[in-house]
């Protein structure tokens, strides 16, 4: 059991969740309520990582974040280190690839809020920010929790994109799934088996949680 990889995986999943949720809430709320031209295009773009082979996304990120590219050089001077083969790099990649998992459930939750409930809040004197804090977020909460669980579980198992942009640097980019792969490659099958079982348990728990939240949400809307 590679404890360093285990800790790194949890760290990546935690920071992905923390950073992706505000982005996803803003994006999902925008997609749920605004009508604008090109909305389908934006939605398709958000959903793209769902069908795109992770290695393809990893390839583009590798090229884009490489210090030899303009974007990569700019980011490297900004952060003091390049985004390739670093924890920051796999974190950015993880956020991008997890966007559909975060945006979808939150968008559905916002769409389920009746427009006149927001209007009732406005007429009751609540500013848009107060309305979001006291009405929208509490009502969308099951969707946000679902997104959290899905993103967490999905990040635990992320492999292709991390291998492409991060490689397998212990303590920096070698997460559990890569440690499992390395273990199998080096004939440390017992190690790989333990780590696989841990990932399986975590993923299963996350999916159970998503289902429980979904049921609570549909119960709440049945009335």
């Amino acid at each position: 059991m590679d404890w360093t990889a285990f800790a790194l995986t949890l760290k990546l999943a935690f920071w992905t969740c923390v950073l992706i949720l505000p982005i996803a809430v803003v994006l999902a709320r925008w997609l749920a309520w605004r009508r604008f031209t090109g909305k389908s295009f934006v939605e398709a773009l958000v959903m793209l990582p769902l069908v795109l082979p992770p290695t393809v996304l990893g390839f583009y990120l590798l090229v884009g974040f490489s210090p030899e590219s303009r974007l990569g050089a700019f980011v490297a001077t900004l952060l003091g280190e390049p985004l390739v083969f670093t924890f920051a790099g796999i974190l950015v990649a993880s956020i991008i690839i997890n966007l559909p998992f975060a945006v979808q459930p939150i968008q559905r939750a916002f769409e389920a809020i009746a427009p006149n409930v927001r209007e009732a809040a406005f007429v009751s004197g609540l500013s848009p920010i107060e309305t979001m804090r006291r009405v929208e977020i509490p009502l969308a909460w099951p969707g946000i929790a679902s997104a959290f669980a899905l993103v967490f579980a999905h990040t635990l198992g992320e492999f292709g994109v991390i291998l492409m942009i991060g490689g397998s640097i212990p303590g920096e980019t070698r997460v559990m799934s890569i440690a499992i792969y390395d273990g199998v490659q080096a004939f440390r099958t017992a190690d790989a088996a333990v780590m696989s079982a841990v990932l399986l348990a975590f993923s299963f728990a996350a999916i159970v949680m998503v289902h429980m939240l979904a049921r609570r949400r549909s119960d709440a809307h049945a009335h």
């Binding site: 006149n116 007429v123 009751s124 609540l126």
Partner: protein, 371 residues
Amino acid sequence: MPMPTKPAPLLVTLQQAGQIPLDVEITCNPGELLALVGPSGSGKTTVLRSIAGLYRPAAGRIVSGDQVWFDAAAGTMVSPQARATGLVFQDYALFPHLTALENVKLAARHLDEPLRTAQAAGLLARVNLDGLEARTPDQLSGGERQRVALARALARDPKVLLLDEPFSAVDRTTRERLKVELSTLHRSLEIPIILVTHDLQEAEALADRIAILHKGRTLQSGPPDDVRLRPVSALVARLMGQTNIFEGEVEQVSKARSSGRIRWRERVVHAATTGRFTRGERVTWLIPADYVVLKETSPSAGKGQVEKLPGKVIDFTGLGEMTLLTIRIGTDAADVLRLTIATREARLLKPGSNVTVSLLAEGIHLMPSEN
């Protein structure tokens, strides 16, 4: 606690072309309940949403006392938050995740604790919901939800109360009880109240004044009896539920214009007043059902100014204790009168019964000819 502001009248003029046409002019005084009546699609809800600040019409002005809430010409559009209106939505739009008390408290944020809780609890008691403060909307009946919505609308001490079909989502028994409660509440509120409804009986029972809205236009406003008995046009008469509307010609006008005669096909009808219409003019005239007196064909009693017209009962519609009668006058199928009589009396009649009807002269009202 902020000083209670002096109740102010509400003045609304709205104009707009396009998909939702508007040509609205209404005023509502403090303590007055104005019913905005019209069929669905007439723009009633849009008018309410405009007053609340949720909809921006193309042109017009909305003024509450000395506060201009909307002025298209000056580019003024005050936000719903800053307008202080109380709006009861048609489906109530309660905050589903909050209890009844929290729903009301959230609209009373202009008050600090403990005044806020006191205000909310006081309003819930005022709408007869004491004891149910801790329930969430899904644990309340339709009528109770409506009461929470009403309490929430009053929580911010609004300058105007807006009610959008507030009785449409509850059963009939509850509706009657809520109407009585609203009537009581109305007497204790010193702000303008605007009630949107398609239900004429509701409007006549509750309103001090009625404004008739049709395709976004206010056609007439006034006390319920004025609009019902003295509609400015046949369209308003029909929208007020009148069915006894006929074409005729002014045959004679007395010198003082205090009375006259109308020719209705081969018959003559006496009118107590002919208004601005002159002799020989084509008119559309109305006899409200409660000004039609029914007599069975028998030696008739009383002889006066009133024509006695022979007719035949062609249809009955039971309405519980009242029965709606359709009576054909003469032979023309278009000349039918409708009136309600007590069901007890209707039992003496049967389809085909010959009857005599009298049209009371003071009920006859003349309007411009529709043709």
